[in-house]
Every structure is written in C-alpha cells, then in structure tokens.
Amino acid sequence: MAKTHVSTTINNEPVEFLCEPNQTLLDCLRNELQMTGTKEGCSTGDCGACSVTVNGRLVCSCLVFGVEAEGQNIGTIEGIGKAENLHVIQQKFLEHAALQCGICTPGLIVATEALLAENPDPTEAEARYYLAGNLCRCTGYDKIIRAVMDSAAEMRGTA
C-alpha cells in the first residue's frame, strides 16, 4: 500500500513525513524522523516513556497513529532544552539524580513540563497523581518528585 503523506508541526517547526497508516506516532518520530529522544517502553500506554504532547495535551505516542498527527501541533523532548542549554526541569533532574538508566526520563520531563504548564504550584500529591502514568524502575520515584517540586519552585521564581 502507498505510504501516507503527513504534514504536521513538531516543536513549532513544520515537518512532513511519509508513513504506513498503522505506524504509531512513536514509530514515526523514532524511525521516520530519527527523533529518538522519545523512548519506547511498553507500547500499550502503561509506562509513559513515549509521552509527547498533541496540541498541548499530554498523551502516549504509542497510542496515536502517525497519520493522526496531520495538521496537529506535536511537542517532544527535543523541544525542551538543548544539550548546551538545558531546561530547568532537565537541570533539576541532574541535580537531584532523578534518573539512573534514563529510559523513563524523556517521558517524565515532557510530562513534568505539561504538569507545570497546567499547574505551576502543584502539591506533592498532585504531582504524584499527575505523573502516575510515568513508570520508573530505577529511582523509587522519590528523587524524581524532589526534582519536579524543585523545578516548580525554580520556574515560579524565575517566571
């Protein structure tokens, strides 16, 4: 079957790609666009490693078809900071050692950014509930939550 042409916006840049209709957005990002910052974990929407935003709304890119991205505005980890200029959240994850193997980290950072855009001053319980769909098998979450709460404080202070 002929591939489908998709015109979309990723991290505020116009992007076009070709894909099979049954390819997920995750697959398109990683394998058609070589944007490998977004990670594949469970592929069933349970782990949150593949978190991206679609029109500002946090979703699992493994549960979105690539063709659904047509005309939408996609946000990925590549749009949050650069290696030479980290986002506050990324810096705080480093400072608090909120990662070990790193597979969950891009998803957690995308989800944390979405949380703080919605709620700049979350309680710890609110942060834990919001991020309950991002699984980490290394850290035990405590350091992640410390990094999230510290990011929130820093971002409110500098806003």
């Binding site: 099979e20 049954n22 929407g45 949150g48 709304r57 946090l58 549960l63 063709v67």
Partner: protein, 290 residues
C-alpha cells in the same frame, strides 16, 4: 500490528457511509484509541478500515444547557474533567472519567470510547446509568436513542451494528435536590481497573427524605447493572444506617462477579455493597451542600 486503511471524515454522514460501504473487510471507529490501538497491535493480517471520528466537530464538543448535557462521545476525558460547569451538575460522571488510566490516557480516552468498548469494568458506564444517560446512535437508516443500561449487552458487546456510530450521549438535567457519585475499588490508589464500582444518584426533598434513587454496580457482572431493589431500600428513608445497609445488601445480592487474582467472588460481592453505601452517602452529602 494489523494493516489498516485510515480515514478521517469531516462529517457523521460521511463516516456512516464509509462504514456501510465497507463490506469486504472489518471496519472499526477510532476515538481516543487507548483500547483500539492496543487491540490492533495484538492482531496480524488485515487490512481493516479505521474511521477516525475526531475530525467531526459534533463528536468533540459538550453542551450543557436547560435540557441537560449533550456530550460529544469522542471528547477526551482530560477535556471533560476540566469542565467545571459539567462537574458541578454531574460530579459522579466527572469523577468516573477522572479515574480512567493516567494523565496520558485521559488525554486521549473518551467517555464514548469507554462506553463502546463495553468492558464490564468500565468506570463511566455505571456513572452514566446512574444519571439516566442515553445513547443517540446514527446509522444508514437514521437515528435511534437507547438508555445506557440497554446499550451494553455483554462483555465487550453492545447493541450497535457495524455501520452505526454513537453520535451523542444525552443526559437529562437532574431534578431539584439530586446529586450523583461514583466510587470504585482498586488495590492501589491510581492506574488500575475496577475490582468493583458503584454509581449512585439520589434525590432528597427539603426534609432530607430520599424521593428517588438510581443505583448501578460495575465490574461485578458481565455488564454494569441497574439495581432497582437497592434504590427502593433508600426511597422513603432519611438515608439512615438501616436504609443504607439494606441498599448495600441489595447491591451485593444483585452482583454475580468473577473469581480471579484481583478479587474472589465473596470479596467483590462484599466490596460492591460497601461502595454502594459510601457512594450513596457522598451523593446525599452533595445534595445537602447545594
């Protein structure tokens, strides 16, 4: 992953035509995809026709007015739960939508999808039945309206033909002195599927006497069940302990749960009664707060 052909029509008429013209392969409608895409991934072969409904404006909006709520079935749960106006009138429905999966899942999953997936453990189905919601269905022969309690016919089965689409979810405005609540039990605090659930709507008069109730149990039978006997236990009472206990016992008696590692039959029967009683108390408290 199964091979698919993807269509995203702009109107319901087009969507129905795509489905009714599709005679050579299976056709499925796509809303949030949080159930469907997982199912398609576990299958091979194809092709299957996938008709995405999210480009159809009337599938995506919600109107709350003097007639009640008219909900576009494909609106995602995150958008619904952010609607304070809807939460004020139907708090039980909104709390059920808020219990579905993670933030990410709620960013895609919809009430209509939850309904059409027709899982026995679906959280929004008991909540919808409690508030007397109806399904407006469109097909090649026109429209029909079915109460939610008659919509789901079995485990993963509902009354819609393959060329029909759930067009709107219609909820009447609650009578004066009415409020709803939904509770479910899971072994942890987040991210799990109901072991048992209870959706309750109660109407109280100015003296706190219950004049009407709808009690619905979920995840303890092949479909969510409206339990008139439980409602009758509350009607005429001031929601005292005896009435609540009788309602709980009626809910437990109406259940026919499965036995699995997440809960034994006896456990689920007991818990669904407890949830019924607690949800009734929450609903009554909500009436008094109004």
């Amino acid at each position: 992953m199964v091979v698919i052909e993807y269509e995203a029509p702009q109107s319901l008429g087009e969507a129905v035509k795509l489905l009714s013209d599709c005679t050579d392969k299976p056709a499925r409608v796509l809303a949030g995809g949080t159930d469907l895409i997982v199912q398609l991934r576990s299958q091979v072969g194809g092709p299957q026709l996938i008709v995405d409904l999210k480009k159809i404006p009337e599938m995506m909006d919600a109107v709350l007015d003097e007639n009640g709520l008219s909900l576009g079935p494909s609106m995602c749960c995150a958008e619904l739960t952010a609607r304070q106006d809807i939460k004020t009138v139907y708090p039980g429905l909104v709390e059920a939508a808020y219990l579905i999966g993670s933030t990410q899942i709620q960013g895609r999953a919809s009430v209509g999808g939850n309904l059409c997936n027709s899982s026995p453990a679906a959280d929004t189905i008991p909540a919808l039945i409690a508030i007397a919601a109806e399904c407006l269905i469109i097909g090649p022969d026109g429209e029909r309206q079915v109460p939610v309690e008659d919509f789901v016919t079995g485990v993963g089965e509902n009354c819609m033909a393959s060329d029909e689409i759930l067009k709107r979810i219609i909820v009447p405005l609650p009578a004066a002195g009415t409020a709803d609540a939904y509770l479910r039990f899971i072994p942890r605090t987040e991210m799990d599927i109901a072991v048992a659930g209870a959706g309750v709507s109660v109407t109280l008069d100015n003296n706190g006497i219950c004049t009407a109730a709808r009690i619905v149990i979920g995840a303890v039978a092949p479909t969510a069940l409206l339990v008139p006997a439980a409602a009758e236990a509350l009607v005429g009472s001031d929601m005292n302990d005896t009435a609540l206990q009788n309602a709980a016992a009626a809910a437990s008696a109406a259940s026919s749960p499965i036995d699995d590692l997440r809960g034994t039959i006896e456990y689920r029967q007991h818990v669904v009664g407890v949830l019924t009683r607690r949800a009734a108390v929450i609903a009554a408290d909500r009436v008094k707060e109004k």
